[in-house]
């Protein structure tokens, strides 16, 4: 079957099989920023934004995104400028091995869009769905709070 959708601002059309997950499709088309880890919706490393909502791409069939607007971590930057969340992660050194970071960045960017002034508790709850096996949560949480501030100033 064929699906067409908007991916990082560009129209695409893919030939897929019905049991293919969006995670598999993205990675097989070279978008390897979306990470494959648990494949059961526990870890958040494969988070992408579908029609304005961040979700785990391992739990989505590619067939489901026909007609949708999909943004991956590769699509967060605009014209070579990092998304404020990406910039805050870099500035805060909020990265250890880095494998969980694309998922965290995508999740946080989407969360801040809808919750511009989160409390630390709220950010911690969001990251219940993004597992870091280096256990580096403190700096990512600080980075998200810093990004919220930067984004607030830019408004």
């Amino acid at each position: 079957m064929r699906v067409s959708c908007t991916l990082n601002g560009r129209p695409i059309e893919w030939e897929i099989v019905p049991n293919e997950t969006l995670l598999d499709s993205l990675r097989s088309h070279g978008l390897t920023g979306t990470k494959r880890v648990c494949e059961s919706g526990e870890c958040g490393a494969c988070a992408v934004i579908v029609d304005g909502l961040a979700m785990d791409s391992c739990l989505l069939l590619t067939a489901q995104i026909d007609g949708a607007d999909v943004v991956t971590v590769e699509g967060l930057e605009t014209a070579g400028t990092l998304h404020p969340v990406e910039a805050a992660f870099a500035e805060n050194g909020a990265i250890q091995c880095g494998f969980c970071i694309p998922g965290m960045v995508v999740t946080a960017a989407n969360f801040l869009e809808q919750n511009p002034h989160p409390s630390e508790d709220e950010v911690r709850h969001v990251f219940n769905g993004n597992l870091c096996r280096c256990t580096g949560y403190k700096k990512p949480i600080e980075a998200v709070l810093n990004a919220a501030q930067t984004m607030g100033e830019q408004r």
């Binding site: 079957m1 019905p18 049991n19 997950t21 059961s40 919706g41 958040g44 988070a47 909502l53 961040a54 979700m55 785990d56 391992c58 739990l59 989505l60 069939l61 067939a63 489901q64 026909d66 999740t107 989407n110 969360f111 911690r124 709850h125 969001v126 990251f127 219940n128 769905g129 993004n130």
Partner: protein
């Protein structure tokens, strides 16, 4: 889902039900996919994607709150914020973190029939009804469809809505749970609701999860509290009775004894918070 060969995107609930009937057990409804895509049953040959069907609305009908069968947890938590002083919103929020709540549906959380589902006790204490679509439409009490862990009597019927009756919307409610982190699976979860007049509790409802094969109401504890005030003797009787009513098992999250003990503790705390929140509001 190695054998998945077909993907359907029905436009209406009726069309979805028709497809499910046709598939004769080989097809599965797909809501948010946060359970189906984790378990990936091998016998499923077709999925019926509910995301584009006409069951995605939230509406207040004559004072009753109706959440459509395709509504995500995120949409539901916002819509349900005014119900029972925000109790349902809190229970839905604690069900899962951001990424999952964006995808998962409230009806899916019910139909998945996990004994530990957080939204289910919260809905049950507000007398929630499932609006089912089958060969005919009917409304049934939410707990009545649960027959065991991950087992329901739904068959091919589709949950096209979940209704909180008008009488229950204004009840006081408290949801609380014991878990390793905020949205982890509960070791025990508890919801209580009541109408509070003066210092007496009426229409008392107590429901618990993760302490029996399905979410249960502690009906004998409810009867002890009905029409009473929260004095130490009555509260103790309700707590002791709750511990008799639960039927927990031991698994790697908690032992049966521990769950039984905590059931009483959480019911006591929930009832105390319920009364305290009423006093604050007064």
């Amino acid at each position: 889902m190695r054998n998945l060969r077909e993907y359907y995107r029905p436009k209406t609930g009726e069309e979805a039900f028709g497809l499910k009937q046709q598939m004769n057990g080989r097809g599965a409804y797909l809501g948010g996919g946060t359970d189906l895509m984790v378990h990936r049953p091998q016998d499923i040959e077709a999925v019926i994607d509910l995301r584009h069907a006409d069951i995605g609305q939230c509406e207040v009908v004559d004072g009753a709150y109706v959440v459509g069968g395709g509504v995500s947890l995120r949409q539901a938590e916002e819509f349900l914020a005014p119900v029972a002083g925000g109790m349902l919103r809190e229970a839905v929020r604690e069900t899962a973190p951001w990424l999952i709540r964006n995808a998962a549906t409230l009806a899916g959380n019910v139909a998945n029939a996990s004994p530990a589902a957080d939204s289910v006790p919260a809905l049950a204490v507000l007398d929630a009804e499932l609006m089912l679509l089958g060969t005919e439409k009917e409304s049934v009490p939410l707990l009545s469809i649960l027959s065991g862990p991950h087992r329901t009597t739904l068959g091919n019927r589709l949950i096209h809505g979940i209704r909180i009756p008008v009488d229950a919307v204004g009840r006081r409610g408290v949801f609380t749970k014991l878990s390793r982190s905020k949205s982890d699976i509960a070791q025990v979860n508890v919801a209580v609701a009541a109408n509070v007049s003066g210092d007496r509790l009426n229409n008392v409802r107590i429901a618990l999860g993760a302490v029996a094969p399905t979410v249960i109401r502690a009906t004998r504890a409810e009867a002890i509290m009905e029409g009473q005030r929260l004095d130490p003797e009555t509260l103790k009787a309700a707590v002791d009775t709750t511990r008799e009513e639960v039927r927990p098992i031991t698994d790697w999250r908690a032992s049966a004894d521990y769950r039984r003990h905590v059931s009483g503790v959480l019911v006591r705390r929930a009832l105390e918070r319920l009364v305290a929140s009423t006093e604050e509001a007064a």
